[in-house]
């Protein structure tokens, strides 16, 4: 049970990554690889601030802001310097690797003895439940601490998801969506497509870095390598989410991305439990995303040929 709760919590935290990837890949149709650098940036910056005893809320927010800056940099490279979108992301991601090392001063920053958001949740747990460290529900022994963290994460992510949904219904948010849907149309209606792309990538990478900041606090360390493969993981979550809710309304797609991220983490946890070699995880995820991208078209062709 601890394993499942842990997987769900990480899934919730990484659902911010999924939302960020959804924003850049699906809404803007922009293959943004910056994510691999910005998730580490968020983790690194918030970790180093926590080590310096900065308030955890501020440290986490700083992670978001740093990620947003990184994203807007990718946007500027793409729109103002006319560099291909994929390459802009790769450039910023590569540069961020050095930046992250400088921020942390070493390749790994442990957080086990620092005051983090997790400490707040712990205090809250004691306040609500009092002494007992374990309780049983549905016939399972559940670690009280794990359960509260899960509930807190669920609450936090729900709030962020809802705010995002509201944002996409404002004038600015609809203009952003239209920028991805039909740039020539929104330009003809007086919106600067460049500004929308820069702002959108800032928001996307801000969410991704926030995800990194929360992940570092949950797992108790920030590591310079933690971003590797994250884009593909985020994409896998988005694809699973779309399969769950179908490509329909905006609100459902946001919920879908969160659910996709949780389900993906659960699948990974179960696969590892069944003896999957952790080294193969990225290979299998890449293969999964590949088949999810190719299979629908392939099946259609197959149907046409036989039917």
């Amino acid at each position: 049970m601890t394993l499942l709760i842990g997987a769900m919590t990480i899934g919730l935290i990484l659902s911010l990554l999924a939302l960020g990837v959804y924003l850049s890949f699906r809404i803007f149709n922009f293959p943004d690889i910056t994510a691999e650098g910005s998730i580490t940036l968020g983790a690194a910056l918030s970790a180093i601030l926590l080590v310096k005893h900065v308030n955890p809320v501020l440290a986490t927010a700083a992670g978001f802001v740093a990620g947003a800056l990184a994203g807007s940099l990718t946007g500027v490279l793409h729109t103002k310097f006319k560099i291909h979108g994929l390459l802009s992301g790769i450039l910023v991601m590569t540069a961020l690797y050095s930046v992250n090392l400088h921020v942390m001063g070493k390749s790994n920053v442990p957080l086990l003895s620092e005051t983090t958001l997790l400490t707040y949740v712990e205090k809250m747990t004691v306040k609500i439940f009092g002494g007992a460290a374990r309780f049983s529900a549905f016939g399972w022994e559940i670690n009280r601490q794990d359960a509260t963290v899960l509930v807190a994460a669920l609450f936090g992510i729900s709030v962020i998801g809802f705010v995002l949904y509201l944002f996409f219904r404002t004038n600015l948010g609809t203009s952003m969506r239209a920028t991805g849907d039909n740039p020539s149309m929104i330009r003809a209606l007086g919106v600067s497509v460049d500004a929308m792309i820069i702002l959108g990538l800032a928001l996307s990478n801000g969410l991704i870095a926030l995800s990194g900041a929360l992940l570092a606090q949950y797992q108790g360390f920030a590591d310079v390598q933690m971003g590797i493969g994250m884009v593909v993981w985020g994409l896998a979550s988005v694809i699973i989410g779309e399969a769950l809710v179908g490509v329909s309304s905006l609100g459902l797609l946001i919920v879908g991305a969160v659910m996709g991220s949780i389900l993906f983490r659960l699948l990974v946890a179960i696969a590892l439990r069944w003896g999957l070699n952790p080294n193969d995880l990225k290979l299998i995820t890449a293969f999964f995303v590949f088949s999810a991208l190719v299979l629908p078209g392939f099946l259609k062709k197959f149907k046409l040929r036989t039917g």
Partner: protein
């Protein structure tokens, strides 16, 4: 009032593909004027429209609209003054967004986009009223994605969007060329309605001589990046489709003559 002064545009300069798309074009369009631009393929009529819309910057010359010099304004800034309908019915609307959201984007044309709600009850009511005037039964489908509509319906909505806030200038770029005859007819009638009701200053490019004769109060014929004929006033009143065709034949004949004459002159004198 639109004033185009001696604008020039050359694409791919200095390469074998060099095209002089606009050569020293002058055009003044009074407020409330409805001008039809005719021309053969590659004559520069769409280029002229795009130059005014700001799709690219002209090499030389000036463009001013409403007394403002917009020559160096980027496209999205000009959109505050200019409404546009494209040839491709898919270019003017965002397919994955609802009819209401598309119209809401148009209702904010040229304004800065803040964090206010894109849609509200008042705006929805106004949308329903205006869409009802299209007679397409779309007023009850405000929340349907635009991608589910036909080309004609999408073009009618684009027209409604371009004119939602009365622009200083409406640009119509062969906006019925990609539609079936029935939808084309419907969109043309709608264009006429909007233009006459709003006394809308309009620049319209078309291939159809019939449309040119039936619509508008002035006809401009372009060829090779220049304005060859500017028919207005009484002359415009008398013009018929046959006259326009005759003028195009003229152009074509001169076209055929030019290279052979040049060749003869070369042989005799060089």
């Amino acid at each position: 009032m639109l004033q185009v002064r001696a604008i020039t545009k050359t694409f791919y300069p200095g390469t074998p593909n060099e095209v002089q798309a606009l050569r020293n074009v002058d055009l003044t369009l009074e407020d409330g004027g409805f001008v039809i631009v005719l021309g053969t393929n590659g004559s520069g009529k769409t280029t002229l429209l795009n130059a005014v819309a700001g799709t690219f910057f002209v090499d030389h010359g000036n463009i001013s609209l409403d007394g403002k010099n917009i020559t160096r304004w980027p496209e999205h800034r000009r959109a505050k003054l200019i409404g546009r309908v494209f040839q491709n019915p898919f270019s003017g609307t965002a397919p994955n967004m609802s009819i209401a959201e598309n119209l809401a984007l148009a209702a904010g044309r040229g304004r800065s986009r803040g964090l206010g709600w894109a849609l509200n009850a008042n705006l929805r009511k106004e949308m329903r009223d205006r869409i009802r005037s299209l007679n397409m039964g779309l007023e009850d489908r405000l929340d349907n994605a635009i991608g589910t509509l036909s080309g004609g319906q999408r073009q009618a909505l684009t027209l409604l969007m371009a004119s939602w806030l009365k622009p200083s200038l409406l640009l119509l770029d062969e906006h019925t060329a990609a539609l079936d005859p029935k939808s084309a007819d419907q969109v043309i009638r709608l264009s006429q309605q909007i233009i006459s009701r709003q006394k809308q200053t309009t620049l319209m490019v078309t291939h159809s001589m019939q449309q040119a004769v039936n619509l508008g109060d002035r006809i401009i014929m372009m060829h090779r990046g220049q304005i060859l004929h500017d028919l207005q006033g009484a002359e415009r009143g008398r013009i018929r489709v046959e006259d326009l065709l005759a003028r195009f034949d003229d152009i074509r004949r001169r076209e055929q003559l030019d290279p052979s004459v040049a060749e003869m002159l070369r042989r005799n004198y060089v």
